[in-house]
Amino acid sequence: MPTAPEGDQTLTAQYTKATDPTRAAPPVCPVLCRRPRVSNPSSSNPPSGSGNPLVSDADIRFLLGDVFDVASLLELPAFEAHSVETVDMYLATIRRFSREQLYPAYQLMDRAPPQLIDGRVHVHPLAKKLFAQLVDLGVLTADRSEDVGGFQLPSLVTSAAMLLMMAANLAAVGYVSLTSGAAHLIEVFGDDALRASLMVPMYAGRWAGTMALTEPDAGSSLADLRTAATPTDQGHYLLRGTKIFISGGDQDITENLVHLTLARIDGAPAGIKGVSLFAVPARRPTADGLVYNDVYASQLIHKIGTRGLASVGLTYGDQGDCRGWLVGPENRGMSCMFQLMNEARISVGVEGAAAASVAYHEALAYARARPQGRPMADRDPTSPQRPILVHADVRRLLLRQKAIVEGGIALVLKTAQLADLATHTPDGPERARLGLLLGLLTPVCKSFPAERGLEANSLAMQVHGGYGYTSEYPVESWWRDQRLNSIHEGTTGIQGLDLLGRKVMADRGAAVQVLGGEMTRSVEAAMAIGVEASWCAQLGGALRDVGETTRALGDKAAQGDAAGMLLHSADYLEAFSIVVVAWLWLDMATAAARRLAQTPNAPFYLGKRQAARYYFATELPKAGHLLQLCRDAEPSYGDMQDAWF
C-alpha cells in the first residue's frame, strides 16, 4: 500500500459541505500514529514518525477557507489564473510530497550533516534528490510572477504549502527557498543582462542562490560590514572579504550558485548608506563555460539544529579575482534587501510555526498512546494504566501547544495574506493602508512563532517524559531546529527595536491606528455571532492599553528620550504579539462559531473555541503587565551596571 493518502481534504469541500458535522473531525489518523516504543527505548530503529500529519489539514482548510477567505483573494486580477481548485490541487500535492518524501528524509539528513572536503561542501544525497523533486513540482517559482515563468500563486497559499514542507524537512526546503529569494532580488533590482545570465538559471533550478549579509564583525549591525568592492572598467567589481553563517553557501546539489552579497564600494560613505548589493556567482559564466570565481567555502559551521542545511563561512577574493555585479543602485544595497525582507521574515515565521506544529502532532499522538498512571478518580492499582492524555496537566501541555501552534499558523498566514493584498490590491490608498499593517505585523510574524514556538517545542518534549530527552525520539530535533528562529534574519531583540522604533512610531502611529480599526471590526463580527462577550471586552481593553502605552512612549521620544522609549522594546514586542495573536484567536473563534451554529458538536470547531478560551484566560492577561513595564520604563536592567553582574 502506498503511504500517506490524499484525502478529500479540500477547500472546495470546506465550502460545499459546511453542514456535515463529521467532516469537521480533525484528520489526525490514530491508526497511523507511531506508538511510543517504550518497552524498548534503546532500540536502534530510526524513528520513522510516519503518520505525523505535520500540519493539521483541517486547520489549513479552516484558515484558508473560513478565516482568510482565499476565494476572495483569488478574485484579484493578479491571481486570475488560479481558482480554489488549483489551490486545492497544489496543497494536495505538497501535502503528499511532504509526508511521503520530505519527512522520511528529515532524520537521516539531521544525522548526517554536510561535510567540507577539499574546499567543497558535500551534502546528504537525499538533499540532492529532494531539491530536484521540489524544482520539478514548481515550488521554486510557485509565488513568482508569470513574467519570469512563475506560477503567481498568492503568498497565502505558498505559505500554507511551505508550512507543510518546512514541518517535514526544513533543511531540504531551505536550499530551494534561499534560491528563490536570491533570484527574486535579481529579478526586482537587477538589469536585463543579469536577469538573463543569473536569474534565469536560478529560477530553472539549475543554479542555487544564497543571501550573504553577515560577517564576523557585522551580524546585527550590518552597517559595520567591511567586505569591499572595487570597480573595474569592465562592468564588474572585484570583491574581497569574509562572510559567515551563509546558509546553503556551498553544496554539491547544483552546478553553480550565486551569492547575493552586501559589500562596500571603495570610498563609499560609512554606515548603512555605503552598503551595496552584488551578485557574486561561485562559478562565473564565460564563453568557455563556468569558471571558478575566487570565492569559496572556507569554513563549515557545526550547528545544533537545521543540520541538513549547510552553513558556511565564505572567503571572497583571495586571488584578487572575485567578480561581482552590482544589483540595484550604488549604496542602496540595504534598502533593496529591506524591500524583500518581508518575504524572508514571513518565511522565518513559517519555519517557527512549522517546527512547533510537527512536534505538537508528535506529542499528541504520544499522549494518546503512552499509558502511565491513572486518572484521579480511579486509583485502583490493578486497573490498567491509562494514556497520559487523561491527566489534566498533560492536557495543559497539549492545549498550550495547540494555542501557540494554531495561533502562530494563523499569524503567518495573516501576514502572508497582507503581503498579497499590499502588493496586488488595485486601489492605491487601500494598498498603502494594508502595507502599513503588513509592516507592523512583520516583526511579530518573525518573532512570535520563534519565541513561543520554542516553548511549544519544549512542551512537546515534556509530554514525552524522559524519552523526549533522548535522540531515540524526534521531538528533541525540532527543539534544536526551532532555536535558530529567534536568531537569524534579525534577532528577537532587533525585531523589538524594529517594531517599536520604526514601525509603531512612523507617521505618528498610523500603522497602529490601522491595526486598531481591524481589531475593532473583528470584535464587532465576534459580538454579532455571539462569541463570548468577555473575550471581546478583553481584546478591546488590551487594544486601548497598547494605544495608551504607545502614546506614552511616543511622548518620551518627543521629549528626546529615545533610549527610554526603547528600553523595554522586547517587552513591548512580546505584549504586542500577545495582543495580535489574541485578535487572530478571536477571528478563529468567530469563524468556528459560524460553523458551530450549524453543527454544534463538531469536535474541530469545539477545539478551536476551547483553545481561544485558553488563550484569553491565560495569555492575554500577560500583556497588561508587560505594557506596564514599558510605560514605567521599569529601570532594573536599564540601570544595571557591568560590574554588578
Binding site: P5, D8, K17, C29, A81, T86, M89, T93, R96, A142
Partner: protein, 250 residues
C-alpha cells in the same frame, strides 16, 4: 497510438467509514483518494506515451465529484484528456463498469487499455479481465513491467513463485500492480495545464447503456469484529504449545 486508462475514486483506506443500522454505509462524508493501482496505471500510460508518442485518456465513473480525481490524479500528472461517465456508484458492479469501458473503447478505439489490477475499496479484481473478455482482446494482469515492442506489449507479471513474461498483441488490456512504477506527483505546471484540458461528460444513455442493471447487489455491510487482546507467554515452550494446540498453525 492511443492509451485509455482508468482513474477510479475510492474511499480512503485510512478513513473511518460509518455503517448505519440497516447495513449500508453512509457515503455523504467520506474521504476519497484516487485508487492507488489506478495511479500506477496512469503512470504506466504516461511513460508509454512519452516513449511512443501516444495520446492518453483517463476515464472516471461516478458522480460529479469524480471529476476532481480525474483532473488531479490523471490530467495534472500529464494525461491528455478525461472522460467522466455520470453514474450512481452504489448502482455499479464490475460487470457494468466493464460494459461502460467497452462502450468507451468502441467510441475511442484505443490501442491499449491500462487499468489498476483492482480498486482498494471493493477489492474485486475483475474489471480488467471482464473488459478483455467482452472486447475479445488479449490481457495481461498484475503487470510489474510493461514495454511496447512493435505491435506487441511485453508484460512482466507477478505470479506465485516468481515472474512471468508475456507477449500480447495489440490492442490489449493490461492491469497494473503496485511495483510497476512509482507514480509521479502532480506538478504545479501540470495542475495549471489540467485546468484547461478537455474533460468530456457522458451519461449512460450516451453509451447506449441506459437501464443496464448491475448483476451484483450489496446485501449488507458490517464492521469486522475487533481483535482480542494478546497474552504473554512464559517461555518458548509455551509459545510452541499454544501455536500447536490453540492457533493450530504448526
Amino acid at each position: 497510438m492511443k492509451i485509455l486508462v482508468t482513474a477510479k475514486r475510492v474511499t480512503d483506506p485510512n478513513a473511518k467509514l460509518v455503517i448505519d443500522d440497516d447495513g449500508s454505509w453512509i457515503d455523504d462524508d467520506v474521504e476519497y483518494i484516487l485508487n492507488p493501482f489506478c495511479e500506477n496505471a496512469v503512470e504506466c500510460a504516461l511513460q508509454l506515451a512519452a516513449d511512443h508518442d501516444a495520446e492518453t485518456i483517463a476515464v472516471g465513473i461516478g458522480d460529479e465529484e469524480v471529476q476532481r480525481y480525474i483532473r488531479q490524479g490523471a490530467l495534472a500528472r500529464g494525461i491528455d484528456r478525461g472522460i467522466h461517465v455520470e453514474a450512481d456508484e452504489q448502482e455499479l458492479d464490475s460487470d457494468l463498469i466493464a460494459k461502460i469501458l467497452k462502450a468507451l473503447v468502441e467510441k475511442e478505439s484505443p490501442d491499449l487499455v491500462v487499468l489498476g489490477k483492482q480498486a482498494v475499496d471493493g477489492d474485486s479484481n475483475q474489471v480488467g479481465q471482464l473488459l478483455a473478455e467482452m472486447l475479445g482482446w488479449p490481457q495481461a494482469t498484475f503487470a510489474s513491467d510493461v514495454k511496447i515492442e512493435g505491435d506487441e506489449v511485453i508484460v512482466t507479471r507477478e505470479v506465485d513463485g516468481g515472474l512471468e513474461k508475456l507477449a500480447v498483441t495489440l490492442p490489449a488490456v493490461i492491469t497494473a500492480d503496485l511495483r510497476l512504477n512509482d507514480p509521479r506527483y502532480a506538478s504545479l505546471a501540470g495542475i495549471m495545464k489540467a485546468k484547461r484540458k478537455p474533460l468530456e461528460e457522458l451519461e449512460l444513455d450516451d453509451l447506449d447503456l441506459d437501464g443496464e442493471e448491475p448483476k451484483v447487489r450489496v446485501v449488507k455491510l458490517h464492521e469486522p469484529t475487533g481483535r482480542s487482546a494478546g497474552v504473554f507467554v512464559a517461555d518458548v515452550d509455551e509459545l510452541i504449545l499454544k501455536l500447536t494446540t490453540e492457533a493450530r498453525v504448526l
